[in-house]
Assembly symmetry: C2
Homo-oligomer: 275 residues x 2
């Protein structure tokens, strides 16, 4: 069993040191529960609701020499864990990216740039062009997605086909109207992403409104059958969710005597005829 944690945090745009401290405290708390993998929200150093490109750029740092990632590396070493979190990246090309990293005691194992940008992010960030990485860790294979990426099933499919056991997903889900008694569709989509691929998904979301934007607070850890193992929180409160995950369940894609969710795909038929 692998203990996985997903941390819902209240952050403040521009308050990078305070945000790093809040994330560090959550990692320590998660490690106290034995977490071998800790997932933090999207852009969890910079915050999210920028006034524009200039503000984001001023808060961005290169992945290769990054105070946020160095901090996570130190924490990972001290607490024998691996951290996945979002950070505001200044590319070597001078462009600003909405990125996430997998960081262990030896440093960043992978960096991923969000490929599907949400709303005003399109005015701030450049979308990534590389497929989501899948990182082999001692306890399993971890894929990455960031927020709106999760709404593109073709994209979620890629790490599953590449062998991911768990997809770690830093998000900042802005709250939208939800009918009474319904679970927010952000969470519903993640449940579907998990079961159609037979993978675990751990989502870390935000809480506490930022510049008038409030959040779903939908932090959740979902099993490969699509049902939550912990959460969804769906409350405006900081929280560290923890779940014991038998990641080997994601290696068996069988869902009936004659069905396998990946082998049953018919990729040769999945070509749009006319658009």
């Amino acid at each position: 069993m692998t203990v996985v944690a997903a941390c819902q945090l209240g952050l403040t745009v521009g308050e990078v040191e305070a945000n790093r401290a809040a994330a560090a405290a959550a990692v320590v708390r998660a490690a106290g529960h034995g977490a071998e993998l800790v997932v933090l929200p999207e852009l969890c150093d910079s915050g999210y609701v920028f006034t524009g490109e200039a503000e984001a750029r001023a808060l961005a740092s290169p992945a290769a020499d990054n105070p946020t990632l160095r901090g996570w590396q130190a924490l990972a070493g001290r607490h024998a864990t691996t951290i996945v979190g979002g950070f505001c990246e200044l590319g070597e090309d001078g462009l600003v990216y909405n990125s996430a990293a997998v960081v262990g005691a030896d440093g960043a194992l992978a960096v991923y740039r969000k490929a599907h940008l949400w709303d005003a992010e399109k005015l701030v960030f450049t979308p990534g062009e590389a497929p989501p990485p899948v990182v082999e860790l001692p306890f399993g294979r971890i894929g990455l997605m960031i927020c709106y990426d999760l709404e593109f099933p073709e994209w979620v499919r890629l790490p599953a086909l590449a062998g991911a056991d768990l997809i770690a997903a830093p998000v900042n889900w802005p709250a939208m109207p939800v009918p009474p008694g319904e679970r927010p569709c952000d969470v519903v989509r993640v449940q579907a992403d998990a079961c159609v691929n037979g993978v675990f998904i751990a989502v870390a979301d935000r809480c506490r409104a930022e510049r008038g934007v409030s959040w779903v607070g939908g932090t959740v850890i979902v099993g490969p059958d699509g049902y939550p193992l912990a959460g969804p929180v769906t409350a405006d409160a900081a929280e560290v969710l923890v779940a014991s995950c038998d990641l080997t369940r994601a290696r068996d894609k069988k869902v009936s005597t004659h069905n396998d969710v990946l082998a049953d795909r018919r990729p040769l038929l999945y070509r749009p005829v006319a658009q």
Copy 2:
């Protein structure tokens, strides 16, 4: 507004006449609510839990000369509606297909053969090779999917890209364990299918156990935001669900100032790197 109905029926394998009568009664009831489109379950003439290929073959009829489809045509004419339902098809090639048709007063407008077969269906049916049709009706464009097809987001994407406003989905969802308080994942996946494509989906499921197989009873009509407009029933009872659907909502894929769920796709990136 278009009134759409989805009918949850109790059927019995092999009792073709009784099954047709049950479906006809549901269509009459739906038409009484003003339904312009009525969705019936998968294989709703033959029933589902066959002893083997021979039993299914004995219950199958060619689409071109088909008592089930003729019955739906007469009903559609009499009640000024359009019917989508599943039937057991004997192909002109001598093979047996798990098919669905869109039938109006002038006859079958499209026939679709299920492309993703569930469990023992693989021992009985030949999978279809053609993409799901999208039929232009006076009130909107209707796509087709059958049951397990809905678990392949690449497949659901095709009718959405081809302009479907609503996907009609005859199903027979065998019941699986569901954790307390959770909505069955069959329904959750349909909610996700709807909102990632911005389409309506009307699902007609079964009730009343057949040869020891019980059903989700998950008949539901979902809007393009992923939330149910009627249902899910999630009870072992016959029911005719009705929802007034503004199908023009499916023509606007915008989900924020800068986002459009179809235009935001990045198909050139959606190629598996290595499998």
